[in-house]
């Protein structure tokens, strides 16, 4: 059976004869059982995968006068519609037809990276990065919104903002059947 063998090895070399000690072997089976029982308990009751925190910074609504004028050509607006779809356009609403896109690797992520590159190439100066405005409609889900934020993080967009959607843009979504 399971035992802890603590009796010293080897034979005594000396001629001295000692009195026989009681064996110090301990049966460890119960202890191992207990340890595994506790391990099982802890595995069952605890959470190992800790939730992650995505940091969000929203613009201060109380300060209205710090808005810097932004060239339209550098602004990409993403409208989040229903059915996990979105559409985007560059510039002012209505001037160019929006493109319907999907979430994911081949959808908006590719678009963000491509458009960012294009804008950086066609603009001069230190401020030539793309500005992304996310406008979630009432029909979009929270998941879409988090996905969008995540894609922006992945694409390394330097400047982004979450803005309320306007009726014109809701009209655009409606036209594509996403509202």
């Amino acid at each position: 059976m399971a035992e802890l063998d603590t009796s010293g090895g080897g034979k005594h070399k000396g001629g001295k004869i000692r009195s026989k000690k009681a064996s110090t072997r301990i049966d460890l089976t119960a202890m191992v059982d207990l340890a595994f029982l506790l391990i099982t308990f802890f595995i069952m009751t605890t959470t190992l995968a800790k939730p992650k925190a995505m940091d969000m910074v929203m613009p201060d609504k109380s300060k209205k006068d710090v808005q810097l004028p932004v060239p339209e050509t550098r602004t990409m607006t993403v409208l989040l519609g229903s059915n996990n779809k979105l559409e985007w356009y560059i510039g002012a609403p209505g001037k160019s037809a929006p493109t319907v896109d999907n979430f994911g690797k081949d959808g908006i992520r590719k678009t963000l990276i491509e458009q960012n590159k294009k804008i950086e190439e066609t603009h001069q100066g230190p401020d030539n990065y793309m500005i992304v405005l996310v406008k979630p409609s009432d029909k979009s889900t929270y998941k879409d919104f988090v996905n969008m934020m995540d894609e922006i993080n992945i694409a390394g967009i330097k400047s982004m903002g979450v803005v309320d959607i306007t009726p014109i843009e809701i009209g655009l979504l409606k036209k594509d059947g996403l509202y």
Binding site: M1, A2, E3, L4, D5, L28, T29, M31, V32, A35, F36, L38, I39, F42, I43, T45, T46, T47, L48, A49, K50, P51, K52, A53, M54, D55, M56, V57, M58, P59, D60, K61, S62, L80, K105, P136, S137, D138, K139, S140, T141, Y142, K143, D144, F145, V146, N147, M149, D150, N153, I154
Partner: protein, 190 residues
């Protein structure tokens, strides 16, 4: 059979689990959190979690001392005097979603009864004095007084819920000038 090694391993694992793991707390409002690629973990202390789902908002805050002080302040605000015993009971409730009018009743339930209590969520409306806004405001004051820290906020939203549910909570935060908060997500691959 010599079990010494096995015993050692078992206890080593046990120690590891005890030290690394945090006890799973049962959420009174079950939400399905969305996934993202963010790897930053949610901080353990000085944090208030706003759970949004099924059209309800639940409020939670870390730290028993803060909860106690917060209930006292809220009692003053809403003219409901809570006894020290009730404050003690409240200090072990991590998350709750009942309006002030039902709070005393909720506190005096035992843990099993709380699970089945039909919690309607904390009232949120567009006014600056909604109950949620008051909870948030008082929680910030209490944290400032006790720990001299700015309270952090995290929003735990249900993935399938529509965006306005989330927006209404953000509006409450922004009205108080809280423009920085976290969204709680689970991890996914790119």
């Amino acid at each position: 059979m010599d079990m010494t090694a096995m015993c050692d391993v078992a206890f080593l694992l046990l120690t590891f689990f005890i030290l690394t793991a945090k006890l799973r707390t049962e959420d009174p409002l079950h939400v399905d959190i969305p996934a993202s690629t963010v790897t930053q973990v949610v901080p353990d202390d000085n944090l208030s979690t706003l759970t949004v789902g099924q059209g309800k908002v639940f409020f939670g805050i870390e730290g028993t001392d803060i909860r106690k002080a917060l209930l006292e302040e809220m009692g003053k605000q809403y003219k409901i005097p809570f006894t020290p015993e009730e404050e003690q009971r409240f200090s072990v409730i991590p998350t709750f979603g009942v309006p002030m009018s039902q709070l005393r009743q909720y506190i005096n339930l035992d843990e099993e009864q709380r699970k089945t209590f039909p919690a309607p969520g904390i009232p949120v409306d567009s006014t600056a004095n909604s109950e949620l806004a008051t909870w948030i405001y008082q929680a910030r004051i209490v944290t400032r007084n006790l720990k001299n820290l700015e309270l952090r906020f995290a929003i735990k939203g249900n993935a399938k819920d529509e965006y306005p549910a989330y927006k209404s909570v953000v509006d409450v935060l922004q009205k108080q000038g809280v423009n920085r908060f976290s969204l709680i997500t689970s991890l996914k691959g790119k």
